[in-house]
């Protein structure tokens, strides 16, 4: 086997193959970045609506809770097939990359919404009350007071989730998206040793994940240092109702 592997190295490490790996890596990163990026924005909107103290929004709040609870429990592989066949059934012939991005976004939104909600809840109710009596309004309270304090709670798990999702996107290969795992399968199918093909996958996944994990760790440390300040009393389970 070692002789066979060594013999393949020269054929394997070519510019043409490198470009194929690069394209696959780009697709993997793009799926995670687009899905988690859009998911992060949508998750913040969902949490804003979910914690908005208006009885008129109750039906919407119920829908949001259902969405979060359901989509956090559906495996990524099941969901990507669901998105693929639903869009096909609706006559939307989206590119496979778009199908994968939608799937990542749907899942990421549900997961990140829970992380953001936990961040909101970590901020003491007296911060909400102070802002309310000074006429901040809900959006300004969140932007100026709550989110800056909640970052310490939101960023570390959100970053871990992002790194996890880079690996999770390997399942997009099941519907034919040309990403890292699919590239590994391709090279294996054209005769490259599985050790070399999937070993390269492993190396690239690690090369993507490890620096991101370190960046996340650094951000976490920096935030912990900057916001070592904590509220004087324990936080409540949910943001309080502070007037209309």
């Amino acid at each position: 086997m070692p002789e066979g592997l060594l013999g393949q190295l020269e054929v394997f490490f070519t510019w043409q193959n490198a470009l194929l790996w690069l394209r696959a890596t780009g697709t993997t990163v793009a799926m995670a970045v687009v899905g988690c990026g859009v998911g992060f924005v949508l998750a913040n909107l969902l949490v804003l609506v979910r914690t908005w103290p208006s009885r008129w929004l109750l039906p919407l709040r119920v829908l949001i809770v259902l969405y979060v609870e359901v989509f956090r429990r559906i495996p990524f592989l099941v969901l990507i097939f669901l998105v693929l066949f639903t869009t096909r059934a609706l006559g939307l012939h989206m590119p496979l990359f778009a199908v994968a991005c939608v799937t990542v976004t749907v899942t990421a939104t549900a997961f990140i919404a829970e992380i953001v909600r936990a961040g909101y809840e970590s901020v003491h109710r007296n911060q909400w009350e102070s802002a309310a009596v000074m006429n901040f309004g809900r959006l300004r309270t969140v932007a100026l007071v709550v989110l800056p304090q909640a970052w310490t709670v939101i960023v570390p798990p959100a970053f871990s989730y992002f790194v996890m999702f880079i690996k999770e996107t390997s399942l997009a290969s099941q519907v034919g998206v040309y990403e890292l795992m699919q590239a590994g399968k391709y090279f294996n199918n054209v005769g490259v040793s599985p050790f070399l093909a999937f070993g390269t996958c492993l190396a690239i996944y690690f090369a993507l994940s490890y620096p991101l994990t370190r960046v996340g760790w650094r951000i976490e440390r920096r935030l912990a240092h900057r916001f070592r300040r904590t509220s004087p009393a324990e936080p409540l389970a949910a943001p309080p109702v502070v007037g209309p």
Binding site: E129, S130, A131, V133, N135, F136, R140, P232, V241
Partner: protein, 246 residues
């Protein structure tokens, strides 16, 4: 003329029973009114009702002759623009420095020029003895210092009415005087103040009128001399005798 008028105000927390039961009270412009009473009598709740953190379940609140409709967002915003409250637990924004705490509302909410708001904020912090703590975060300040920042923050809003909710109860005894001195100065300036306090000597000194509450209702109202030296109700006499004994 009555600046604040409460007519039969009742309130209840969503999770519990009645905390205010038909409170009626009139506060004139420039008057300093202190509210005393045992724990759980509804003193702090009364202030929370006034600023709209707990809308009344019955009764009416009038400000300068206009009934305050708590369901009307604009009316509540307008009322809150005239009021300022200093909380028992300071409630400073933990992510902001002392100066930012004082200037954030003038700059971000009232759209005042940043330079003038900062200059006023610095002056207010110097006035309460914190000129050297402008860049300090709340957790870098002592309880007394935080409470004085909270006072400066309230004053930066230029309120017509200042509500003080047991502002010394969370402080160490040696820090109480520095906060009381700052409030004493304000009382002399003619700002309308509603003070909830357990500092009876202070209440007697600064108040034009004292309101004694128990079980969510007003038991007795009168000048400090009456409440502390010659209470007219048995409940007030009992409370005053207990606290003056300690």
């Amino acid at each position: 003329m009555a600046q604040i008028e409460l007519r039969g105000v009742s309130a209840r927390y969503p999770s519990g029973g009645q905390v205010l039961d038909g409170v009626s009270l009139v506060v004139d412009k420039g008057e300093v009114v202190s509210i005393i009473g045992p724990s759980g009598s509804g003193k702090s709740t009364l202030l929370r009702v006034l600023v709209g953190l707990l809308p009344p379940s019955a009764g009416e609140v009038w400000l300068d002759g206009s009934r305050l409709d708590y369901a009307d967002r604009k009316a509540l915003t307008a009322a809150r623009a005239r009021l300022a409250i200093v909380f028992q637990q300071f409630n400073l924004f933990q992510n902001m420095t002392a100066l930012d705490n004082v200037t954030v509302t003038p700059v971000k909410i009232r759209r005042e020029p940043k330079a003038s708001a900062r200059a006023r904020g610095e002056a207010l912090l110097r006035r309460v003895g914190l000129g050297d703590k402008l860049g300090a975060y709340p957790d870098e300040l002592s309880g007394g210092q935080q409470q004085r920042v909270a006072l400066a923050r309230a004053l930066a809003l230029g309120p017509e009415i200042l509500l003080l909710d047991e502002v010394t109860s969370a402080l160490d005894p040696e820090m109480v005087n520095e906060v009381l001195d700052a409030i004493r100065d304000l009382a002399n300036e003619g700002i309308t103040m509603l003070i909830v306090s357990h500092e009876m000597a202070f209440v007697r000194e600064v108040s034009d009128r004292v309101v004694m509450m128990a079980d969510g209702a007003v038991v007795e109202t009168g000048p400090p001399g009456q409440i502390f030296d010659a209470p007219r109700t048995e409940r007030c006499r009992e409370f005053v005798s207990k606290i003056l004994r300690h």
